[in-house]
C-alpha cells in the first residue's frame, strides 16, 4: 500500500475547559475519498481546521504529503485545497477576479494562473459567467466557485467541510457529482458531512465522529457489519414533542428493542429482527394510546451504526 497522503495521529484540541477533539487518528490514501460523518458539534470542523492550519493542535500531529501540520505549515498548505462550509468569496468582484486573487495567494501567476482559472471555471461550469460579480450569482453557483478556488493550485488532497449545507437538491447533486469526478481524476478528498446518504454515496472509507471522538472507522460494509444483526424500524405516530419523547422512553423496555430515538416526527427503533419484533412494538405503542401512521423497516446502514454506537440519531 502506498504511503498515506494524510496521517493524523492523536489529534486533540481543547478550548479552555472544553475538549473539542480527543485523540483522533486516521489515514487517507492517495485517490481515496474519506468522510468524517457526525452530527453538528461533533468536532468535524475543528479536525479539518487543525489539518488545514487554522488551529494549532493541543496534542498530536498530522502528516500531509509528508509534511507536519505543526512544524511545516507552509508546505502543508501548498499541498491541500480547502473548501470551507461557508461561501468564502469576495462578492463585489467577479468570479475571475476572485479566482485570480486566490490563485495568487497560492503563489500562482502569469499564464499558468490564467490556465488554472480557465480550467477551474470549466469544472464549476461557470466559464460563461466568469466576468460577472459573484454577488449576482445564485447560491449554487457561489458554491461551485467556492469549490473551484480550492482546486486552483492542483492540491494533492481536497478538504471539503460540509459543502452541501444549505443547498437545493439540484446544487447538492452537482456538488456530489463534482467530488466523484475529481476523485476519478485521482484527487484524494477529506469530506465532512452530517448527511449519511452523502457519506454512503461518496466514500471509500468513513470515520464516524461524535463528541470529538472517532468512534468508528472503516468502509461502509465494515461499519454496517458491526450492527449486522440489527434492523431499524422507523415508525411514524400521532405524537410529537414531549409526548413523542415519552413514548420513545417507554419503547426502550418493550420486546427486543435495544435503542429508541426520535427522528423526523417518528420513532427510530433498533431491533434484532424487525419481522419478529414488529407485533410487540405495535402492541407497545398501542398500549400507550398512540396511533401508528406509517412503518418502515430499514436494512442496516450508517444511521443504524450511529444509533448503535451512540444511542442517538445522527441528526439529534
Amino acid at each position: 500500500m502506498a504511503d498515506p497522503i494524510l496521517r493524523a495521529t492523536g489529534l486533540s484540541k481543547r478550548f479552555g475547559s472544553q475538549q473539542a477533539v480527543k485523540q483522533v487518528s486516521f489515514d487517507i490514501q492517495p485517490g481515496e475519498i474519506f468522510s468524517l460523518l457526525g452530527p453538528n458539534g461533533a468536532g468535524k470542523t475543528t479536525t479539518i481546521s487543525m489539518l488545514s492550519g487554522l488551529l494549532i493542535p493541543t496534542e498530536g500531529d498530522a502528516l500531509i504529503a509528508g509534511h507536519s501540520v505543526t512544524r511545516q505549515a507552509a508546505a502543508v498548505k501548498q499541498a491541500i485545497g480547502v473548501v470551507p462550509q461557508e461561501i468564502a468569496l469576495y462578492p463585489s468582484i467577479s468570479a475571475r477576479e476572485n479566482l485570480a486573487f486566490w490563485g495568487r495567494m497560492y503563489g500562482l501567476g502569469g499564464a499558468h494562473l490564467k490556465e488554472r482559472i480557465a480550467a477551474t471555471l470549466e469544472v464549476a461550469g461557470l466559464a460563461d459567467r466568469a466576468d460577472d460579480l459573484v454577488e449576482t450569482f445564485s447560491g449554487g453557483m457561489k458554491r461551485r466557485i467556492n469549490i473551484a478556488v480550492g482546486l486552483l493550485h492542483q492540491p494533492q488532497i481536497l478538504f471539503m467541510d460540509e459543502p452541501t449545507v444549505g443547498n437545493d437538491p439540484q446544487s447538492r447533486r452537482r456538488i456530489l457529482d463534482t467530488v466523484k469526478d475529481l476523485n476519478r481524476h485521482g484527487l484524494a478528498v477529506l469530506y465532512t458531512t452530517h448527511y449519511m446518504e452523502e457519506a454512503e454515496e461518496l466514500s471509500h472509507r468513513i470515520g464516524i465522529i461524535d463528541n470529538g471522538e472517532l468512534i468508528a472507522l472503516g468502509t461502509q460494509a465494515e461499519l454496517t457489519r458491526t450492527v449486522g444483526e440489527f434492523d431499524t424500524l422507523h415508525i411514524t405516530v400521532d405524537r410529537e414533542g414531549d409526548a413523542l419523547d415519552a413514548l420513545c422512553r417507554h419503547m426502550e423496555g418493550v420486546g427486543e428493542v435495544s435503542h429508541c430515538t426520535t427522528d423526523n416526527g417518528g420513532l427510530l427503533l433498533q431491533v434484532k429482527d424487525a419481522n419478529a419484533a414488529l407485533a410487540g412494538v405495535v402492541a407497545g405503542i398501542a398500549a400507550q394510546g398512540a396511533r401508528i401512521r406509517d412503518i418502515d423497516i430499514r436494512e442496516p446502514n450508517l444511521e443504524a451504526v450511529f444509533l448503535h454506537l451512540t444511542g442517538r440519531a445522527l441528526r439529534d
Binding site: 481546521s49 488545514s52 492550519g53 487554522l54 488551529l55 494549532i56 507552509a74 508546505a75 498548505k77 501548498q78 491541500i80 480547502v82 470551507p84 462550509q85 461557508e86 461561501i87 468564502a88 468569496l89 469576495y90 463585489s92 468582484i93 477576479e97 486573487f101 486566490w102 495568487r104 495567494m105 497560492y106 503563489g107 478556488v149
Partner: protein, 415 residues
C-alpha cells in the same frame, strides 16, 4: 508580493462600493464647503458688515482732506463704518495691526496744497491717500478701499475739470454717501472709472496690508484639512474593520489556509486601508485646490504630512479592530474615538481655543498634530523643517499602534 495583492484587492473592492465613494470622497468636500461657507467669516475674525471700525488720520491743513472725513462720517455711511478720527498715525496703524480696526485712512499734511498745485500747473506730482488694512480680514478692507477710491475718483474728476472750486467739490462729494449704500453697483463703477481716468488721476491711492501678510485667509485652509482628517479617521476605522468583516465572511480563515503568513495577510489588509486613505486625501487635496482655490503649500511637506497622517490613522484603526471582540464593537469604539478626537483635535473649532486643561488631551490626538502640520503649510507656508516635530509625533503614534495591532491580531488568528 502577496501583501500588495491583498492591499490592491481591498482597494479595488472599496472603490467599487458607491456608498464608500460618496462617504469617503464626496462627503468631506461637501462638508468642508458647508462649514467653510457657514463659519468662514467668524473664522477669519470678520465682524458683520456694519460698523466696520476704521481710523481716519486727516493731517491735511487744507480743505480737500475734509472731503474724506465728511463722506466717511456722513449719516448715510453711519451704519457701515464706525470712524475714529485720530492725529496719531502710529496709533491708528497699531489698532489695525492688533485687529481693533479693520483699516486706517491716512491723508498727508500737504494733501490739499499739493493737489491744488498739481491741478493749476498740470504737473505730474504724486499725491497719495494711504489705506492701511488688516491682512487677516478680506471683505471689510475691500469695502473701505472701495469707498476711499470712490471719493478719490470723484475729487480727481472734479479737480481736473477745473470748472468748480473746492466748495463745490465738497458739496458734490457729499452726494457720494447714498450711493455707497449700494456697494455692489459701485465697485464695478469704481473699476470702470479707474480705467477711464487712467493717466489723469492726480491723487494716488495706496493700499497697504499691515502686520504679517497672510498669503491665504481662505477659511478652507482650515476647514479642508480639518474635514479631510475627520473623514479619513472614519474611513480608516471602516477599512481596518474589514479585517473583522473578512473573519465573519469566512474569507480571512480561508486566507489563513493558503500558504500566506498571517503577518503578510494583516500587512496586506492594513496596506489596503492605507492605499484607500492616501487616495482619499489626494482627491480632497486636488479637489479643494481646484474648487476652493486652496493653496496647500510646499508639495513635499504636504506629501509627508499626508503619509504620516494616513499611516497613523490606519494604525489606530487596526488597533481598535484588534482590541474589539467583533465588528459591531469595533464600529462603536471607532466612531466614538473618531468623534472625540475630532472635537479635541480642532475639527469643529480651533484647538487653541480649548480650555488649558484640555490641551494635553488635544495633543494626544492624531487630528491635532496633523491639523497643526497642515495649517503650518496652508497658512504659514512653512517648509519641511517646520513640520518635523509634527511628523515625528504622527509617525511615533503610527508605529506604536501598528506594532500592538499586529501582535494582537497574530494572537487572535493563530490559535
Amino acid at each position: 508580493m502577496k501583501i500588495l495583492h491583498i492591499a490592491w484587492k481591498d482597494t479595488i473592492t472599496r472603490l467599487r462600493d458607491r456608498r464608500a465613494i460618496i462617504g469617503f470622497l464626496l462627503a468631506p468636500l461637501v462638508v468642508a464647503g458647508l462649514i467653510g461657507a457657514a463659519f468662514g467669516p467668524a473664522f477669519r475674525g470678520e465682524r458683520p458688515l456694519s460698523d466696520i471700525p476704521i481710523f481716519l488720520v486727516n493731517e491735511d491743513t487744507g480743505e480737500i482732506g475734509d472731503i474724506y472725513a465728511e463722506v466717511l462720517s456722513s449719516p448715510d455711511l453711519d451704519g457701515l463704518f464706525a470712524v475714529t478720527e485720530s492725529d496719531d498715525l502710529a496709533a491708528a496703524r497699531a489698532a489695525v495691526e492688533s485687529g481693533d480696526a479693520r483699516a486706517a485712512v491716512h491723508i498727508p499734511a500737504d494733501f490739499s496744497e499739493d493737489l491744488l498745485a498739481a491741478a493749476q500747473t498740470a504737473a505730474d506730482v504724486p499725491v497719495t491717500v494711504a489705506v492701511y488694512t488688516d491682512p487677516t480680514a478680506s471683505i471689510s478692507p475691500f469695502i473701505v478701499s472701495a469707498v476711499v477710491e470712490r471719493i478719490t475718483l470723484s475729487v480727481n474728476t472734479l479737480m481736473l475739470s477745473g470748472q468748480i472750486g473746492t466748495n463745490q467739490a465738497l458739496s458734490h462729494a457729499a452726494l457720494l454717501g447714498p450711493a455707497l449704500a449700494e456697494l455692489d453697483s459701485i465697485v464695478p463703477q469704481v473699476i470702470e472709472a479707474q480705467a477711464e481716468t487712467a493717466g489723469q488721476t492726480s491723487i494716488g491711492l495706496t493700499r497697504l496690508a499691515l502686520g504679517e501678510e497672510e498669503t491665504d485667509a481662505n477659511p478652507f485652509s482650515y476647514f479642508a484639512p480639518a474635514t479631510a482628517i475627520f473623514f479619513l479617521m472614519f474611513s480608516m476605522m471602516d477599512s481596518t474593520r474589514s479585517i473583522l468583516q473578512e473573519e465573519t465572511m469566512g474569507t480571512l480563515p480561508r486566507l489563513i489556509t493558503t500558504p500566506t503568513p498571517v503577518s503578510h495577510i494583516l500587512l496586506g489588509k492594513i496596506g489596503g486601508a492605507f492605499l484607500t486613505g492616501i487616495l482619499q486625501f489626494l482627491v480632497l487635496v486636488l479637489a479643494s485646490a481646484v474648487i476652493f482655490r486652496l493653496d496647500w503649500g510646499n508639495p513635499l511637506a504636504l506629501a509627508a504630512v499626508m503619509l504620516a497622517t494616513v499611516f497613523a490613522a490606519t494604525s489606530l484603526g487596526a488597533l481598535i479592530s484588534a482590541l474589539a471582540r467583533n465588528e459591531t464593537q469595533a464600529g462603536i469604539l471607532g466612531s466614538a474615538i473618531t468623534l472625540v478626537s475630532a472635537a479635541l483635535g480642532g475639527t469643529f473649532a480651533q484647538a487653541s481655543t480649548l480650555p488649558a486643561f484640555m490641551q494635553p488631551f488635544s495633543k494626544m490626538t492624531i487630528n491635532r498634530w496633523s491639523l497643526d502640520a497642515f495649517l503650518e503649510l496652508t497658512f504659514g507656508q512653512a517648509d519641511m523643517a517646520a513640520i518635523f516635530p509634527h511628523l515625528g509625533v504622527l509617525l511615533g503614534m503610527a508605529a506604536v499602534f501598528f506594532f500592538v495591532a499586529l501582535v494582537l491580531f497574530q494572537r487572535r488568528f493563530v490559535r
